[in-house]
Symmetry: C2
Subunit: 350 residues, 2 copies
């Protein structure tokens, strides 16, 4: 099952003359050159991604992709599987961290049931893109069928098709999905699962050791059978929410809309997308360094410096929400600050 | 000139039973315990500072303290001294980075002329607390008289007297003030000025070497004459905006209102306040790690981990504005998230 399943055309963001024009504007703003630090780099990347010297950043939207995981039957999480569905309702009802953050940051928000064991008929704020009621356990089977994987990728992509936002954030919910993500990192980066598995929602001691053994056994099973493609890695050990986020990222990037990636699990969806086409990287903002084991190592291997480092490990899109506030402020500065010439301010004397 | 000049009563924030109640509420929110990382620590500190289990965080206010510096006659900055007054007008007019950030973050904002060479009669948004039209050069003289220092401390304190905000941010503007701050760090921490002086707005090469020599010469002159008190350090080598921020911090803390400290220069005002009374520390949030040389080292020596690390070095209060958005979101999560019991969500199984 190769990458041909879904791969839209994505333009490389590098554009020589636009970059120079953006830099000239940044240097004309009333501040010493470069003194806004990362805010200036963020504004540069945002403008390049939008392909414009004066892009708007008004409409912000975060989706939480939710899916259940068959691997939970192996007892890899301290929380019962039912929490996935309960948390979808909490997110839609406004009580989850991500709901609170989005409401107060002026970010439009929705949770996407792409594969949970719940029925949310009549629940406002839940988008129904359900592929199945959860994946199969990937211990000695594929988590999903080829058809399911394709359906989840396209479902995620469909959400970004309308292109109705200036920036997107993505996050996830799914008890068991740090096991799934760790297995994907191990396949895609050819790493030992003992290095990629971490505590997730709070696995400690013997539970953490057990989680490592389960993921290691599963990765060992799939490694020799894997066709080497990112899509097959998702189908074998991923989750519906991971597939959905990968499709979403590719689709958004094809519309030149930047995507703010949340933490450990969202990042493996981004890794899969980057393995499909490196052009997507210019459209990604890595929001924060998660406290989940290996997220720091992954970002470092990518040379990506996240915007925030707040020791968060909740997922949902919570890191993305806070980072979108920073990106938004970077663009406010870029678009609304006075220039040296307009404000009549003396420049450097040298 | 001792600390008795201005030192209001400040309560220590440590309160055993309140801390436990806050922690119990944090752990009841619908998330794995501790998974919001620094946001939970921030909420804890904010609640302790306010002395309440359910404090409001609605009214946010940032002041930029502006002052001119006589040391500029020694050619320590690449920008002409006139930029201080021009930037005060730019800040009041809405064109500066801090004005843009505050407007878009819903933070009330004003710039305070505590000692610039400008006249802002009739300019809205500039608060007149002028002590003098700038300090004297501190190369071989005190930057200000004892009376001026006292007046600047009390002027800053007066701004926080009304206690009309739930949280304050402070920043500064003053061409030449990184030289002044570096000299203060050297006195207060008994450090070599060659370690505390940095590029400021962009001193490089020979200009930076010259700046280091000037500050080193000045510190050498004052070290033997200094009475060892923070107030005398401010009077000798500080600035009116630094004195104002020190007074402001002490006054706000005495009202139990937290102060978000901006960067290199605001931090030295905080250091002076902490040297006057260590109880003030619980009311301080260090907003960001400035790119200015020695700010990282100072924060580390204090054991303070700043909220943001965005390579900024603009001052004005820009780091404080962004950090206030994070603190505000931490308190939204604390106050508005559902609890496990209220949302009917299953807790850990162990």
């Amino acid at each position: 099952m190769g990458s041909e399943v879904y791969l839209p055309q994505i333009e490389n963001i590098e554009r020589g003359s636009l970059r120079e024009e953006i830099q000239a504007h940044l240097d004309d703003l009333t501040k010493p050159p470069g003194s806004l630090g990362r805010l200036e780099e963020i504004a540069m990347q945002y403008c390049l991604a939008r392909g414009s010297l004066r892009p708007l950043l008004t409409k912000k939207k975060i989706y939480t992709f939710a899916g259940d995981h068959g691997i939970t039957v192996e007892g890899v999480s301290p929380y019962p599987k039912e929490v996935t569905v309960q948390m979808v309702l909490n997110m839609a009802g406004g009580g989850a961290a991500i709901s609170v953050l989005c409401k107060n940051a002026g970010i439009d928000y929705a949770v996407v049931d792409i594969g949970t064991a719940g029925d949310y008929s009549g629940v406002p704020g839940v988008i129904d893109l359900k592929v199945n009621n959860g994946t199969a356990s990937f211990l000695r089977n594929s988590a999903m069928t080829g058809a399911e994987c394709r359906k989840a990728l396209l479902a995620g992509a469909s959400l970004a098709e309308q292109g109705e936002a200036d920036i997107y954030g993505i996050g996830e919910m799914g008890i068991g999905n740090t096991s799934s993500a760790a297995a994907m990192y191990s396949l895609l980066l050819d790493m030992d699962p003992y290095e990629t598995v971490g505590a997730g929602t709070g696995a400690e001691g013997e539970l953490l050791n057990h989680k490592k053994r389960i993921v290691a056994e599963a990765v060992s099973f799939h490694r020799s059978r894997w066709d080497g493609s990112p899509v097959d890695a998702i189908g074998r050990v991923g989750g519906f929410e991971i597939a959905g986020m990968t499709g979403f990222i590719l689709s958004a990037a094809s519309k030149r809309i930047p995507v703010v990636v949340d933490g450990f699990i969202s990042s493996v969806a981004a890794l899969a997308a980057m393995k499909m086409t490196s052009a997507v990287e210019g459209y990604l903002f890595f929001s924060h360094r998660s406290a989940e084991h290996f997220h720091a190592g992954f970002l470092e291997s990518l040379g990506a410096v996240p915007i925030l480092d707040l020791g968060m490990r909740l997922g949902e899109g919570t890191g993305a929400a806070l980072a979108i506030e920073i990106i938004s402020q970077a663009m406010h500065c870029y678009s609304e600050m006075a220039t040296f010439s307009s404000a009549g301010i003396s420049d450097r004397e040298d």
